[in-house]
Amino acid sequence: MATSFKQIEENLKNEARKLLEDQKVSLVLAYGRGYDENHPVPFVAKIAADVENIVFNEYCTANMARYLVRYPRGTKMAVAVKPADSRAVVQLIQEDKVKREDVILLGIPVIGMKNSKTGEVIDSKTTCGLYNPVLYDVLLGEEIHGQPVVSPYDVLAQYEAMDKDARFAFWQKEFDKCIRCYACRKACPMCYCDPCFIDQNKPKWGEKSPQSHGNLMYHLTRFHHLAGRCIDCGECSRACPVDIPLYLFHKKVARECEEMFGQAAGKSIQDKPVLVNFRVDDSDKILE
């Protein structure tokens, strides 16, 4: 039986209050009231009194790990993490963007989260589909067991059935919709480059105007920058105002990385990112 959202909210408030009162952290990354119940906003509690504004419900989909890199190194922070979000924190620790000792993970087991724009239930189709965080210091609800385990890669069946030309045509059509608002990279917890390659103009890697070739350049490069790093939270796809199914490419690359290197992104802080690490027994498949 999953812990109710109301109970998780209560537990989250209590933990946050304790951490702030005891000065264990200087801020708690959580969720707050938005303009209505179905539209909560990311919220940062900085003093104990802020805690009253914390909420948690099925629409609290934002990946709060995204905000960790915004604060100076050494800032003691607590962050509310759902399963995929905890993977983002693990990945950030692997990449040395966040120190394990600086962050307290308030883990939230979840099932039945909903997209605030569409009301649809979010599951393994657009995310990693885990029910429990992979790393936490405090768990704010009962671990969820006994739920059907669905592979996050099942959704790829139709995509993988397409040949190379069909896939290229598919992405060209999708990228033609892109308005270059960059919500995908801004919502992504792993997109922390400053500046992003696409914003550079010496050299200029891609055009600023929303046309096929520039859009292709932006998205394909971003996809590859995230190879072996995407933790499959699905935030990019939910952030996209024109509904480009970015998760498909990320899942495809994640699956290939997992098959080639036997390691999924953000699962253990002992791991090293696959494209940074070299092991003698690494797959040579890519060279064949």
């Binding site: 303009y35 919709k177 608002c181 801004k186 500046p195 055009e207």
Partner: protein, 345 residues
């Protein structure tokens, strides 16, 4: 002049407009409705609440080519891009969006420096406004009544349209609208009952409720001026902001652009492309200095520009309460709530 036609027959109306020129109307797309140049009259679909992108793109497209050139050749050989001046019809625009054109006119023609691209398109285009359904509650993100805009205000349109059960009523608002309606075939004359319905709906639109807070232009402008240096306030409201460009791109009154020289295989184009004050590199200077490195500085700029600086310079708030920025924000940041909180500070 008030005319009517069956909603089912709007493709006939669309076909006639397409004969006269370019028709830009709401069409259904993957992520929702958008104003697009229509190539098939059957695409026109009035069963929408509001479009994803605002209709500003009819006059101010995201990308506008100015000059084409070849690298290595003399500038004298560069060719300016001519804009087509075919009559155009912008069909199905909600009253709040119609109002946005008046605000945008200030920047593109009202200050004396006329932007020929905006101006020529604006002059060539007749606007068919379209009332919101006053019998259905407004979307939770909308707040146009806060900005004094009704759900069925005909002002600013050439022809104003509204649904009456299975019919579409069309009222000529301007001389251009009168002429257009007179030339259309297949429209029937409205009955006195229709006329009464039209007037009642316009009145109902004025008292129609969206989210509301009192924003008298001068006092809200002053309030934001006073708040400018209250950094904790701005940090608090922007803690969750991702600093992406969705809000500005979907906004009907955001008009910032960048001029880019884009070259591919020696073929160059100088064009303008929408830019956004929420982007990190928006204020990046050639020296490398960036006066707005923090998210709160950028969000403050966006809000203060609309609700404060714009009032000080031009006397009006540069926001029409269409709710697009709120509806499309990936993290549900809501400009209405920001204004509301600011007034209570």
């Amino acid at each position: 002049m008030l005319k009517k036609t069956a909603i089912q027959k709007i493709s006939d109306l669309a076909a006639q407009l397409m004969q006269k020129g370019t028709l830009i109307a709401p069409v259904r797309e993957d992520a929702g409705f958008n104003f697009r140049e229509v190539s098939d009259a059957n695409q026109v679909d009035l069963n929408f609440y509001n479009t994803l992108m605002s209709p500003k793109l009819a006059f101010f497209p995201q990308m506008e080519d100015f000059v084409r050139y070849q690298t290595g050749k003399s500038v004298l050989e560069a060719v300016p891009v001519e804009i087509s001046l075919k009559p155009a019809f912008l069909f199905g625009v909600r009253p709040c969006d119609v109002k946005s054109f008046e605000i945008m006119d200030i920047h593109f023609s009202g200050t004396g420096a006329v932007d020929p691209y905006w101006q020529k398109r604006r002059e060539a285009t007749a606007i068919f406004g379209y009332a919101f359904d006053v019998n259905t509650p407004a979307d939770g993100a909308d707040f146009y009544s806060t900005l004094g805009i009704g759900a069925a205000d005909p002002e600013g349109s050439d022809v104003f349209m509204m649904k009456k059960s299975d019919d579409l009523l069309l009222k000529a608002v301007t001389d251009r609208g009168e002429k257009l309606l007179a030339e259309m075939s297949g429209l029937t004359d409205a009955t006195p009952d229709d006329l009464k319905y039209f007037d009642e709906t316009v009145a109902a639109g004025r008292s129609f409720k969206t989210r509301f807070t009192c924003v008298e232009a001068k006092s809200v402008a002053k309030k934001f001026e006073d708040l400018f240096h209250k950094t904790p306030f701005w940090e608090r409201i922007s803690d969750g902001c991702l600093s992406c460009g969705v809000c500005t791109f979907v906004c009907p009154t955001c008009y910032c652009f960048d001029i880019c020289d884009e070259t591919l295989f020696g073929q160059g184009t100088r064009r303008r492309v929408w830019d956004a004050c929420m982007f990190t590199d928006f204020t990046l200077e050639a020296s490398g200095h960036n006066p707005r490195t923090k998210v709160y500085q950028r969000l403050r700029q966006k809000v203060c520009h609309k609700y404060s600086y714009h009032v000080r310079k031009y006397g009006v708030i540069s926001c029409v309460g269409c709710g697009r920025c709120t509806r499309n924000c990936p993290v549900n940041i809501d400009i209405f709530s920001i204004v509301d909180q600011a007034m209570k500070e």
